[in-house]
Symmetry: none
Subunit: 210 residues, 4 copies
C-alpha cells in the first residue's frame, strides 16, 4: 500500500511523469488560489500547458489530480526533511536542529501545505489512507528522534509522551502555515521557531536548552 496507482492511458512512463509534474505544478497554484472544488479540470489543463483531452490521458478523474498533488507534496516535504536530517541523532542539539529544519521547510512550502491541509478531506475514502499513512510516517520521524534521545539518556519520556509530543511538534509546524493569518502579525519565523522550541524543550523537561 505504498502508492495508490493512478491509471494512465499513455504507456511511456517518462512522459507520464513529465506530464503529471506539469499538471501538479499548475494544480497547486490553482488550488492555492481557489481551492480544489472551485478549480476546473480545464483550468488545470491550461495551467499545465496542454489540452483537456491530454489531461485525461494521464489521469482518470479529477480526484486523481488531488491525490497526485497531495502525494507529491508529502514526497517533497519528506525529501527536504531527510536531506537535512542530522546524523548525530540522539542529542538534544540534533533534535533542536531537526525541529527548526522542519519549521523552515513548512515555511518554504507553506502554500503547498495550506492546500493539502484544506483539501485532503476531499480525497475519496479510497485515496485517503495512502495520504494519512504518509503523514504518520512524518510524525514517526519525530518519534524516532525522541526515541533516540531517550535511549541516549538525554530525555526521560514514556511511550505515550513520545507519541503525543511528536504530534504536537508536527502540528505546531503545520500551524505556521494554516494559522498564518494570525501568527504572521505576531511573530517572525525566527521568533516563532525560537518560542516554540523553548516551549517544547521545557515541556520535555529539559532544564537548560543549549
Amino acid at each position: 500500500m505504498n502508492k495508490r496507482e493512478v491509471q494512465a492511458s499513455v504507456k511511456d512512463e517518462r512522459l507520464v511523469q513529465k506530464r503529471r509534474d506539469q499538471m501538479i505544478k499548475g494544480a497547486v497554484a490553482l488550488f492555492k488560489e481557489k481551492g480544489f472544488h472551485r478549480t476546473t479540470t480545464r483550468e488545470i489543463a491550461r495551467a499545465a500547458g496542454f489540452s483537456i483531452g491530454t489531461l485525461y490521458e494521464y489521469i482518470r478523474t479529477k480526484e486523481d489530480i488531488l491525490y497526485l498533488v497531495c502525494d507529491s507534496i508529502y514526497d517533497h516535504v519528506k525529501e527536504q526533511l531527510e536531506e537535512n536530517l542530522d546524523h548525530k541523532q540522539g542529542t538534544l542539539e540534533s533534535l533542536k536542529v531537526g525541529i527548526a529544519n522542519f519549521f523552515y521547510v513548512m515555511d518554504e512550502l507553506q502554500d503547498e501545505i495550506l492546500v493539502m491541509y484544506q483539501e485532503v478531506k476531499s480525497l475519496s475514502k479510497d485515496a485517503l489512507p495512502y495520504v494519512l499513512k504518509k503523514e504518520l510516517e512524518m510524525v514517526a520521524m519525530f518519534e524516532n528522534m525522541l526515541h533516540k534521545c531517550v535511549e541516549n539518556g538525554e530525555l526521560e519520556l514514556s511511550e505515550k509522551q513520545i507519541k503525543i509530543i511528536a504530534h504536537d511538534i508536527f502540528v505546531q509546524g503545520q500551524m505556521w502555515g494554516f494559522r498564518r493569518w494570525a501568527l504572521r502579525k505576531l511573530f517572525t519565523l525566527e521568533e516563532y521557531i525560537e518560542l516554540q522550541t523553548e516551549f517544547i524543550f521545557k515541556g520535555l523537561g529539559v532544564k537548560r536548552d543549549g
Copy 2:
C-alpha cells in the same frame, strides 16, 4: 462588525431562528459526511425538514448556510467555555481546569469542530473576517487566563510567550477533533487531556503541576 447579517425574507424573528436552527443541524450532519461542496442545497432543505423554496426564504445563498453553521458553532463553543469558566481565575488550578474544560467541549462538539475546521476556507472574503475574529476571541480567553496567572505571580511569561502558548493550547484542543483519525487509536480523551496538560505546564515552567 460583530455579526454579518444574513438576510431572510421571512419577518418573524422567532421563526427565522427556529428554521435556521433546523437548517444548521441538518447542514452540520451533511457537511460532516460529504463536505460543504458536495452537499446540495436540496439535501440541506430535506435534512432540515422543509422544501428548497422554504430554505431560500431564510437565506440568500448557499454560502450563507456555511456562515450560519460556523457562526453557530463558535457561539456554542464560547457559551460552553464561558459557562464553565472558573471564578478563581489567576491560579494554576483554575488554568488547568479551564484547559480541561476546553478539551471536553472540543470533544463534545467534535463533529462541528471538524466541519468548521475543514470548511471555513470556503467562506467568501466577505464572511471570513467575522469568523476569524471569533476564533481570536477564543484564543484571547486563554491569553487572559495566562495574563492573570502572571499578574498573580504564579507564572513568569513574556507577552509573546503568552500569545504563542494561548495559540498552542487552542490548536491542541482542535487537534483532538481534526486529527482524531490518529489520536483516537493512541489515547482516550482523559489520557489526552492529562498528557497535554502535563506538557503545557512543564512548558510553562511549572515545577509541580497540581
Copy 3:
C-alpha cells in the same frame, strides 16, 4: 366581448376597484422599469401597498395584472381623447386639433404607452383580442374624423385611404413614445407635431394647411 372579466375572490365591487387601481399604478411603474417578465408579483403587491396574499384575492394570475394594466391604459387614453374631441368635427381645423391632441396625450402617457406597447405580446391568446379591439376602436376615431371631412367635401379619399391614413396617424402618435430614444434628440414635441401634421396634411392632398 366588451370586457374580459378578471375574477376576484372579494365580493365588494368598490373595494375590488380600489385595490385594482392601487395595483395597476404600482405595476405600471414597475413594468416601465423592468418589464412584465422581470417584475415579480411580490414586487407588485408591495408597490400596491398590500401583501402577496391580498393581491391574489383580486386577481387569479400574474397575467391578469397585465391585462388590467393594458385595459386601464386604453381607457385612460380613450377618455382623454374623447374629452378633447372637437365638436365641430368634419373640418380640417378640427382634424388638425384632433391629431395634435392625440399626440399630446401620447406624450403625457408616454410611459404607459411604452409599457403597453412592449408587453401586449405577453398577453395570452385569451386576453389579446380584447386589447386589440380597443386599439382598433381608437384607430376608428381617426377614421371617423376623416370620414366626416370627406362627407363635408373637405377631403377626397377612398375607403382604403382613410383606413391606412388612420393607422398611420395612430402609429405616428405611438412612435413618439416608442422611438423616443431617437426622436427626442431631434425634435421637441411641438416640432414633432408640426412636422408630422404638415406631412399628413400634404399626404391628404390639402394644398394649404391651417
Copy 4:
C-alpha cells in the same frame, strides 16, 4: 463599437458561425411563438439540433442569444436593402423603388422583424446601443436617398423634414410587420405599398408620382 463580441469557448471560427446560425434560426422560431422570456435555453438548444452543453460552448448567457438574433436580423435586412439599392439614386423613381424594396424585405422577414421588435427591450443596457445604432443606420439610408433627391432638385425639404420622413418611412415598413393582425385584413402587400407610397409622395409635396 461596431460589434459587441459574444464570447465562445470554441475556437474554430467557421464552426462558431455555423452553430450560431443554427441557434439563431431555432431561436427566431421559438421567440416568434412564445417570446424571449418564455423560451428556455434548452428549447433553443433542441431547436438548434444540439445539447444544452453545446449551446453554452457558443454563448455565455441567454441574453447573448437575443443579441445574436437581433444582430443577425439587422444584418440580413441591411444586406437585402443594399443589394437592391438603386444606382440611379437621387431620382424620385429610385426613391419609390427603394421604399417598395424596403417594404418587400420587411414582408419577407416579417417574423424576424416582429421578434426583434418585441424583444429588443429585453436586451441589457450593455447590448442595446449596438442594436439601436444599427437601426439608425437603416433610417440613415432613407435620409440619404431623400438628401440626394433634394440635391438633385427633385424635392424641396428641410433637414428636419428629411429626418422625420425617413423615420416615418421606416416605421411604416415595420408597421406592416407588427400590426399585421390589423393590416392584413385590410390590404394586400401590394395595396399597402401602393397606398403608403402615394401617401408619402404626396406628403413630400410631389405633384404627380411617376
